[in-house]
Amino acid sequence: MPSVLAYHRPGNLDEASTLLAGDNRRALGGGTVVVPDSRVQRDVGVELVDLQALGLDGIESDGDRVVMGAMVRLGELTTHELAPALLRDLARRELPSALRNQATIGGTVALAESSSVLLAGLLVHDAQVMLHGSTGRQLDDVLASGLDGGIITAVSIDSTGHGAIAATGRTPADEPIVAAVARTGADGVRLVLTGVAPTPIQVDPADPTAGLSPIGDFRGSVDYRLHLAAVLSARVVEEVAS
């Protein structure tokens, strides 16, 4: 049983949508996760639908907001003049150089990894996820309840304000055990934590650990993650406030 049964490269979103509606189809962004995962031998193979030809790789300004196409590579985000400084920094932290040239913003949203600092950055920038054929959804809602099969076309953020990150890892560039990302904007301070919930999660700056139940692993136990959440939240909130 070949693992990847077919590869499709649709030329427009409707075609992509039709292709993805079939059984065992998967959208392919950069492929850094989907390709290795799909190539594992299973009982049922998959068909991959590559989104590269849909014109989803632009970054545009829209008033106070910036709209980033789903296929924008993280590497491009690290230097793009329209990207807020915090997001440029977090895109660089998210992955090392070559992987960063492949991985996409849409893929980052779709994977919804607990430890993603870039997702945390999108959340503090009030990200909305644009989906083909439906209205945009708040990123926190997408993370909480899933994508439900739609094609991500873009992520829109409020590019105002300024932000910061505080993180603890085994080494300086390690994927953080816990990271706290904050931004001050017109609506005050937003604070998001990674590594303490199944996805990055927005928390109350006044009581950042309330209601959290992290999953412990060899890099950090439950108690230690809660400790880090409190320490790093205080640091990052102080930094953006100053």
Binding site: T32, V35, Q41, Q52, Q102, T168, Y224
Partner: protein, 973 residues
Amino acid sequence: MNITVTINGAATAIECEPFDTLLAVLRRQGLVSVRYGSDTGETGASAVLVDGRLVNTDCMLAAQADGHEVVTVEAFNTAELHPIQAAFVAVGAMQSGYSTPATILGTWALLQEHPDPSEEQIRDMLSGILDRETAYVKPVEAVERAAALLRDEATEPFGPLVLPPMTDGRNPVDVDPADARPTASPAVPRLIPSRDVPEMAVVGKPEVKVDAIRLAKGNPAFTDDFEARGQLVAKVLRSPHAHARIVAIDDSAAVALPGVHAVLHHENTPRIKYASGGQSWPNPHPYDQVSFDDKVRHVGDRVAAVAAETAEIAEEALRLIEVTYEVLPAVYDELEAMADGAPVIHDEDDTTDIHDRDRNIVHHIEAQRGDVDAGFAAAEHVFEQTFRVHQVQQVPIENHISVAWLDSDERMVVRTATQVPFHTRRMLAPLIGMEIKDVRVIKPRIGGGFGAKQEMLIEDIAAHLALATRRPVKLELTREEEFMSSRTRHPQTLTFKTGVADDGTLVSQELRIIGNTGPYGTHAYTVQTVSGLRGLTSYNCPNKKFDCDVVYTNIPVPGAYRGYGAPQAEFALEAHMEDIAHELGIDPIEFRRKNWVVVGSELDIAPHLGERSVEEGELDEYPKVMSNGIEECVAQGRRAIEWHRTADPAWTTPPDRPNIRRGLGFAFCMHGTAIPFLDMGGCSIKINDDGSFNMLIGATDLGTGADTVIGQIAAEVLGVPLDDIKVYSSDTDMTPFDTGAYASSTTYISGTAAKLAAEKVRERLKERAAKLLGVEVPCTIELRDKRAWAPDGSSVSLEEIALDSLHMDEHEQIMGTASYVSPDCPPPFAAQFAEIEVDVDTGQVTVVKLVMAVDCGVAINPVTASGQVEGGMIQALGYAHCEEFAFDDDGRMVNAALGPYKIYRADEMPETEVYLIQTMEDSGPFGAKAVAEIPKDGVAPAIRNAIRHATGARIDDLPFTPERVWNALHPPT
């Protein structure tokens, strides 16, 4: 499906499958510079440029590249090196060179965008290409140099910075330690010459590596770079259980799958016992392995193997093999495995020589000098301290790979990534029912080994399948398999007990170790003896005792890993010595100095440990330390790390950073150079018509530069440039025997063999030159500058001598063959310093700087020697700081991927400085001792002692991950 990709400028139509990666397709196109390291892009070895951007081809489908432009390093290859390639060659930025093509492409892309990049930009580019060898120091230098070359700026030749000594070998000379530290690029080795060492023409010079061009160009060089016609692909079915009996195995569906040529397992493979460690004959017992067993003893253990037309078919066949297991209780901890009621891991009848099978104790090792109990009774102070060290892996970027086939004479040929081709031949032959004479093992370039490839790990599987199919068979491990089924460093529980007199003199010292060897013995015996040796040799002490149990468990198998038992013991020893000094109120360096070995000190425990150990009383005299540069190492290292800051509270506790504490730490390091009376190397040299030489060596360059260094030794003797020595290694049909690349032996042992062989050739050259020049006494002839010189200044070229001897008169092939085994094991010494910061609110340790000053005798090549130190230090940093195997409750590794298993990247490295302290070791070739392993010994204790300095916390477990440090700072009340 059909795709069109512009590859290196040419539109190329390619037929491929939807599941094909771009890596697979490019390699099928013959672009072998694109290399496999993993399936998920973490290593960067497979990176190429797609539309000008560096991307990984292992996690990208070929179909994704349809319509795009791909550039590989082959596009740069002309007769002349591209300036980027030239820069990498010039500064010694390549060791194995496995990932160098990817790095060169990344450099090109970076310099297109930033012709004058910052170091931060360079390191950011390099972050995507993991390097286990260079510590990124010289690659950063190479990128800067490449940028300068492309800007048409002049560059200086790359070589060491020569510094004056700060001591006379024992005491400080007239140098003010507060003098400004010497400044140079971190990539530049600081060399402190010894007046005992004469100036030489080739030895001691920063010669370019002899394999530099093929590595920089990505030419076919590695095991996977040559493909035999009709080659099949092998895959291995691995145990999902930590301990289980195979009750039944049904391979019928797998055998029936079209494209499958063989399925092997315990029911159809001969049961022949062996031990997989690549060691000299007779391998230490027990022989507790067979190619395929009816029992599995760790997650990832072998169950069956398949050879098929493609990897995909082989993988599908593995899924079709139905195995029925009886799952058994498993045990992972070495102390629990010895306890009553623990599951017995080797309960089979045909494994003999296990020390205590029912308690899982495979070896019990003891050695003693003097009477430790009397010593403890006499000592004014007795200290006891227990340490636990963890499991880590070598992580060569090239995974294990072997290709086996029957040649036209139906002999078995195995081309394989091995450090031990001759041991592999001898160990493989009986497993496949062939005689040694009918087995040939070829070692091409190797993409790093670090001990993992000092093992006959997978060659038997490839050979069994080649015999079963009569076709060439390739077996290459995936990264996950590499983690779970290759080899690792032994975890240990170590207890030091030390008696000290009031004045700080050691009176008695005992080291007890419980070593964890997983389910198979392999290197366990010798590794733990080295732990005992290294733990009890650094310091003079009249009473010493080593007591060790080595225990079977169900973790992935430990084996040989660079350092080979020393890093564990020296971590414990140097932490223990630090703490004793503080308890006694003595300066920690002074306390060590009071006790450490000096020239003339006896290496008293050494003869009582190891495969060729002797009893006390059997020796006429103990071996002694004959060269020792530790005082100079300490002096240079202290200045480099600015040790005076230890006395400055404002530095330790910076007022503007309330959560930060800074610390400096020191460790004294001592290692060995080869195994006396055991490690052996051979060399054969012959002259060619043009006065150049072919040199055949069995030594196994695994990226270290061994071929270069041994070539330099021969060139020095023969009076020719290195380029006139053409080095070939290694091939069991072609080259003389060599035990292999391990035990810090190659320069010293194989280098001496080369020196002896070259001296034999030199004698013949002198004889013939004397005849041609009309000189009566041949020994008055000197060889230099490719000529033979008479005392009167007349000379004849080596080419003329060669032509005369091969074609004209009294014909002979001038050649020399020699071998060498050493009675000595001269220790290299080093001072390791670390500067760290601790975030006391989170426990995160940041390593700011590492300085290592090494006495390796005469560094034959200071650039490759410093590269060894840089790479070794950073592997040691990983051991201390962030690398660890983690398991779930069922013994399955939960972090068998790079990233979760964390090795350092270019963009997070501490600053490093390397000092080479020259001493003259008379027993070594041109004064050389070893340098390969000592960099592994001191980083963990230096960081541990720096954490203690910064915070007062004493942490006796590795690694220093944030939660462990935080727990130490906030112990439960």
